[in-house]
Homo-oligomer: 539 residues x 2
């Protein structure tokens, strides 16, 4: 195999990704994300625009990456002043960055309307700014804004902007599809023309947006046409429809034969296995639910719920999966769902150490019950612990730990003696444990928190067993519009063994739904303790 | 302009889309969705697999579309029995469908392993099944499953399967990238080879999956290579990473010069303007939040929050938008957000008839307050009414309608006299209207519903004004893990004028957050009434 060419991955999550509606990174966020990108082997991390806002200025006050080149984004110098007298440019050169990416207008229309200078003045700004960056011993790159639209409007001028940057010594000239409407075959043609105009592909980058759902395809088309730097963002965040998803690009370039045989990335095989964690860790940091359908790394990317497919899949995964999920740190899922066939159920139960024969009538009852409850709003795909309890109950092996006689939750908002608004949440839970009534009361930060505290305040003889049980996450989903809709609550619990489990509750009453999930969580914990004890005894 | 070629859009939301984890359609869902697809001008609606499950059998008991061809999906006849004696095939032929799409294995490996028959037997099954469909006076199509992977493993056999279907009289031979890993340039090469093998492109379809984020690109590559039927699903739902998004495909084929000048769809200009409503209506039916970044139809697809861009955008949208949002029924959004510059705010306020000068100190105070509150968890991008109230309060023009002295919400779960579990929600609200105390109590289906009812039970002299106010939707978002996290509540209200508005509340207490949103909703309604009255008086 002849020597493979290097493709450089450039991440702009912290700069262009910041344009995503609803997303704003703190300095701490940026430091954490830069570290995550650095760890997997991304080549360039664009951190923001030092000087434009306090966050980005603070971020660039220190080196934030070890392997990756930390890149500062900014504008070319203003017309009329020399590079050395341009305060904006000075801030970029002073920042703790290895590289500086200068955005330059390459569509003559914008040069005129947005900058209000002549086409030639703009070329001078590009040339002198690039030279200033190089003189400061930083790697210079130029984002040719609106390049593809500019090329269609005035080919010669768009090319002149790119060529000027190249001739001035820019390491990378990045062709940006700023408005995101360019089609892959147009990218192919235009990139070929740029290379023909004298800029080697090894100096060219592609920056694509997803406005026609083809940001990844446009980026790969550019690579096939000769471009060697690819820009993208984590999970494809970005302005409007987002940027190219850098995780999808990395996985495709590294795992698809026609790319892996020709190219090599800064991400090695181990880095690849971290992509799923990178994608989900990023969403966690954003406090948002990961998209299960994300290519390669989504929770559903290698999931199937079709009964027939599922059984065939288990026979020979290779013929149903385009890559091995483990190469990107993801896993195969054959899901419990009301479309799932018997084989799915048996498989799911076996995973949990529950053995039941294919023709056991209790299995049919369990399947019927799951279908019925999923129809009512329960979602066992996302609540493994509640599913396991449901199965064990049907198979008659869940001991009777306690009985809930009643609970009461009260939320009151009033003015305190100092005239300040005060909201108090209080919960009372009445349990019966071995015929002994146990009544607990607690306040909380909200009704669910108060209920959780009261419930776990005194579990009689089981109290010590749940001492290490903590709630890790709480999700609410309204299943059909209106405040009187059905509510589904998912609760994630964790204990000192580091084990995590999800439980579900469904009711027209959010408190009631939360309570169901809390009860399942505690019963699951008690069952888990007994399983552990059993294992320990067996060893 | 020479005559444009017809491209046929084939929607498989109700069949392949049904494979999406977490999605299961009822018969009513399917009828509603088929109607939506029919209305915009989709050519084929694949409704499911009659005979495979009660839902699909019931769906195909009647004609469900008027313009679109209703298509039933199923398998080719089993080997060993004649087409006329195959019960599965019989069910397909008896169904109320205009067309039948038969799935056929075209990868020899699967013919052997999954079907356990010889390659020739499989060809016979394809041939006879197609003939049986044609004989039943239905349009016959064949989904060549695993076509692209099959082609790479055994080109001649994959081609033989497609050719057999064509020679037997199939109207469409659909090339399926079942595992979703094929790259656009592979699609281009392989489709060209299929056409060279003697099947005209006007008889070929493409069925792409999104496992490398290129389902749309693969579909369009196939179109450029000669294929004339394109399959997809609403919002790209489907197994694993989903299918090609048929809305993105329709918009791109209809609005991008290199396609619109060559091709024509069954969707006319008016149908195009319904695409945004179709996409969001579908998510509404699924009770899930629409993805704001969806190409063309997402809430963010034409949104910008960058201060500089925003001002330039308003000068001349064409140079910042790849298509006109109104062509697909979407709209431009310049958003209020803590990245938004003054121009955004002034623009947002003007839209609401609030005029404030650029250097009015109150404007700076308002911007500061919005940033502060968004930092605390409020999201004014999604709560237009709460934003308007915040602005009007800052500008000192919201009258004092009423004062909330206190409220109390109680949720109790216990056993009733018949030993049945019973959960009761009750709320008490104490208001002060012109110094007159008003106290109301109500039960509800849940705490928020009870609070809403009690609150709106008696608003004194304003009661008649809010008689037509209804809650249309209620959304809960937990902003950081744990049950004691911050909760954001968004409430959508509607009145008899058909006007809809969103209000927001944020608190560590979900009841408190809901109450804030309820108060804003009612105050907004009272303000709205006065605005209307003012207009009426002016006329």
């Amino acid at each position: 195999m002849e020597k493979r060419e290097r493709i450089y991955l450039f991440d702009t999550t912290l700069r262009d990704g910041q344009q995503t509606p609803g997303i704003d990174f703190s300095v701490e966020d940026k430091i954490a994300i830069a570290g995550m990108l650095d760890a997997v082997g991304i080549d360039y991390v664009e951190g923001g625009y030092p000087g434009a806002n306090p966050t980005d200025t603070a971020f660039f006050a220190e080196r934030r990456t070890t392997r990756a080149k930390l890149t500062a984004f900014g504008m070319t110098k203003r017309a009329g002043v020399s590079a050395s007298n341009d305060p904006g440019l000075a801030t970029l050169l002073d920042s703790q960055s290895d590289a500086v990416c200068l955005v330059a207008k390459s569509w003559d229309y914008h040069v005129d309307v947005a900058l209000g200078i002549s086409n030639d003045e703009n070329l001078v700004c590009i040339c002198e700014s690039v030279k200033a960056v190089a003189a400061a011993a930083k790697e210079a790159m130029v984002d040719c804004e609106h390049f593809f639209d500019g090329y269609k409007a005035n080919r010669d001028y768009a090319l002149a902007c790119a060529k000027t940057a190249y001739d001035a010594g820019a390491r990378w000239i990045v062709l940006c599809d700023t408005n995101g409407g360019t089609q892959p075959d147009e990218v192919t043609e235009i990139v070929a023309d740029v290379i023909a105009a004298g800029i080697p592909g090894t100096f060219l980058g592609i920056h694509a947006h997803n406005d026609t759902g083809q940001a990844v395809a446009n980026s790969l088309a550019a690579v096939r046409a000769g471009v060697r730097q690819v820009q993208g963002t984590l999970n494809g965040i970005g302005e409007r429809c987002g940027n190219a998803n850098i995780i999808t690009l990395a996985a495709t370039l590294a795992l698809k034969p026609r790319y892996m045989n020709r190219f090599v990335l800064g991400i090695d095989a181990e880095g690849l296995t971290e992509l799923t964690g990178l994608s989900r860790g990023f969403d966690e940091l954003l406090n948002r639910a990961p998209d299960p359908q994300l290519p390669y790394v989504g929770a559903s990317a290698f999931a199937t719920k079709a009964g027939i497919h599922a059984s065939a899949l288990l026979k020979d995964p290779k013929t149903y999966e385009h890559v091995d999920p483990e190469q990107v740190g993801n896993m195969r899922r054959v899901m419990v769902s009301d479309q799932g066939g018997k084989s799915n159920f048996i498989n799911e139960l076996q995973k949990r150490g529950i053995v039941v024969s294919k023709d056991d009538p209790r299995l049919d009852r369990l399947i019927a019950m799951v279908k019925e409850r999923e129809a009512a709003g329960y979602a066992y795909e996302g609540a493994d612990a509640s599913f396991e309890l449901l199965a064990l109950r049907e198979l008659g092996s869940v001991p009777h730990f306690f009985h809930v006689d009643s609970f009461r939750v009260m939320v009151e908002r009033r003015y305190d003696s100092h005239g300040r608004i005060k909201t108090v949440s209080e919960a009372v839970v009445k349990l019966d444990i071995d015929g002994r009534p146990v009544m607990s009361v607690s306040e909380g930060d909200g009704p669910v928190n108060a209920l959780d505290r009261a419930f776990r305040k005194d579990l009689g003889k089981f109290q010590s067993e749940i001492a290490d049980l903590k709630l890790a996450d709480y999700k609410v989903r309204i299943l059909n519009g209106g405040t009187d809709a059905i509510t589904r609550v998912l609760i994630e619990s964790i204990d000192d063994d580091g084990v995590r489990w999800w439980t579900v509750g469904v009711s027209e009453n959010i408190i009631d739904a939360s309570f169901q999930a809390l009860v399942d969580s505690i019963v699951f914990k008690l069952m888990k303790n007994r399983k552990m004890a059993g294992r320990a005894a067996a060893e």
